[in-house]
């Protein structure tokens, strides 16, 4: 208990750090993942190859290596002196985007072919088919896998703490450096993460229930 009370401001900063890096990189992953999924189902071959290469590379690279790339290679290409928060969120977002892409793609694929055919045969345009028939159904299928993906993202954000970001792993490290017993520190960090992941799964369950529809 003392560990938490004595170091509450640092713990609070760590907690907020984890929440904010999770939020920012979730947004990046979602946007990028949907774009890449669009590439992967598009009728244009080069974009499809690009999407496949992106997913294969990102999924088979350890996230820690991706962090290394973003902290040592990307600043050389873009501009030096980017903040660790931005670099960390980008690394996490890029990594997770490949998983989001696969979830979205399989969501689109689960919509029965007949639905789109029926939509076309009553004279809907491509955009209408997508907007009115396919996407609403795909979105519902995608919600449960997205929930696990974002929970995994929260857990992966711990690695950002090892790359000079203020978040919960950083706090764990700091406390053990200060000589506190690791067991209570571990328990507090665990509670911190559990709060975040339970919130995410709760939100997604709410979302799922709201969008529920009989098929």
């Amino acid at each position: 208990m003392n560990v938490l009370l004595d170091n509450f401001p640092a713990f609070r900063d760590g907690f907020i750090g984890t929440v904010s890096i999770t939020a920012v990189s979730s947004l990046i992953a979602l946007v990028l993942g949907v774009v890449v999924a669009g590439f992967r189902v598009s009728p244009v071959p080069p974009l499809r190859y690009f999407g496949t290469a992106w997913v294969t590379l990102m999924r088979n690279t350890p996230l820690t290596l991706l962090f290394l790339i973003f902290f040592f290679v990307v600043p050389e290409i873009l501009f030096p002196g980017m903040s660790p928060f931005v670099l960390g969120s980008l690394a996490l977002g890029f990594y997770t985007s490949s998983f989001v892409c696969e979830a979205v793609r399989s969501g689109i694929n689960t919509v029965p072919l007949g639905q789109a055919e029926a939509a076309r045969s009553i004279g809907m345009t491509f955009a209408q088919t997508l907007r009115i028939v396919v996407l609403p159904q795909a979105t519902r299928t995608v919600i449960p896998p997205l929930s696990s993906i974002f929970i995994a993202l929260t857990k992966n954000s711990a690695i950002a703490g090892a790359f000079s970001n203020a978040e919960l792993f950083g706090w764990q490290k700091l406390m053990s450096d200060k000589g506190y017993d690791i067991v209570p520190v571990f328990i507090w960090v665990a509670i911190g993460y559990l709060i975040i992941t339970f919130t995410i799964s709760g939100l997604f369950r709410l979302l799922e229930r709201r969008m529920e529809v009989a098929r």
Partner: protein, 312 residues
């Protein structure tokens, strides 16, 4: 993607339009790559000296040692996680309520915590001088929990008649589990189990944070200790190490896909899980407190199917 829901077989107009998109798209992608390469070469990262460092026997030896260290930790973690996975799966399906509770709590807790937190706590708290064992233990605990859920889903997917028949023959519960259910569960879940091993292999890179001299740690040491032309060869080192990692993971994923294809040929009536598609994100709903009972098999199957199944 001939049978995509999104578009018809293109007509003449659409074919022309697609060609234009193809050209514009490829140009954009090529431009992106070229700009990156030009920027890197401006900073001197593509100079031959930067890549020459891999001709030194010392550095090659370093990398070889690191691959060996990575594989050692991976081997230990693979064995550890599978053993723990079997134990936890059996525990979760136990007839004794306390055993079931302990196993469930253990699985839910360690599955919803970041692996890094667990590894670091084990390292600082118990195995400060043995970073390899700390890494292997952390990986075993986390992946054991995931493997347990995979195995449980596999056991639940064995038709009920099988265990009923075995009980009718007078087998004990242990016999039913070891000779009837477990072999079939492992067989049907082998692709998923191997995909999870890919995740384990990738996660050995977390050893970097507890200073275990595995591949990534070695890469960082090489890059920060060898100065070439007044620059640190991060780009070349990361390119080489990244290639090694991706090759190792792809080989393992290929094994999973191959086993999945073989499994589909057999006519056992038990569905073989999709392989190699799920690498990276644990497919199980990490913080699902209500993932018990019959629905418990759902998250594993649903997750794997949702996040992974590709139909191209």
């Amino acid at each position: 993607m001939s049978a995509s829901v999104l578009y018809d077989a293109p007509g003449p107009k659409a074919v022309v339009r697609n060609r234009i998109y193809a050209v514009v798209g490829s140009l954009a992608i090529v431009a992106l790559i070229v700009v990156s390469l030009v920027r890197l070469s401006d900073k001197g990262h593509l100079a031959p000296e930067m890549w020459d460092i891999f001709n030194y026997a010392g550095i090659r030896q370093n990398i070889a040692d690191a691959v060996l260290a990575t594989l050692k930790a991976f081997g230990l973690a693979a064995v550890g996680s599978l053993v723990l996975g079997v134990l936890l799966a059996v525990g979760r399906l136990s007839d004794h309520r306390p055993v079931r509770w302990v196993a469930t709590t253990f699985i839910e807790l360690f599955r919803s915590l970041p692996l890094l937190i667990t590894i670091y706590a084990i390292w600082v708290g118990f195995l400060t001088d043995h970073s390899m064992w700390a890494l292997a233990a952390g990986l075993s605990v986390y992946n054991g929990c995931v493997q347990a859920e995979v195995l449980r889903a596999g056991i639940n997917s064995v038709p009920k008649g099988q265990s009923e028949a075995a009980y009718a023959l007078g087998m004990s519960k242990t016999q039913v589990m070891t000779t009837v259910l477990m072999p079939q569960a492992v067989r049907s879940m082998l692709p998923t189990i191997i995909s999870q091993l890919v995740v384990t292999l990738k996660d050995t890179s977390l050893g970097f944070i507890i200073l275990y001299p595995e591949l990534l740690q070695t890469a960082r040491l090489i890059a920060s200790n060898t100065q070439v032309n007044g620059q640190y060869p991060y780009v070349s080192t990361i390119a080489v190490i990244g290639t090694i990692y991706i090759t190792m993971c792809l080989l393992l994923s290929a094994l999973a896909t191959w086993i999945e294809k073989r499994g589909r040929r057999a006519k056992t009536g038990i569905k073989v899980a999709p392989g190699a598609q799920t690498a990276g994100i644990p497919t199980v709903d990490a913080a699902g407190p209500d993932a018990g009972g019959a629905g418990g098999a759902g998250p594993v199957d649903g997750g794997a199917g949702g996040a992974g199944v590709s139909k191209d």
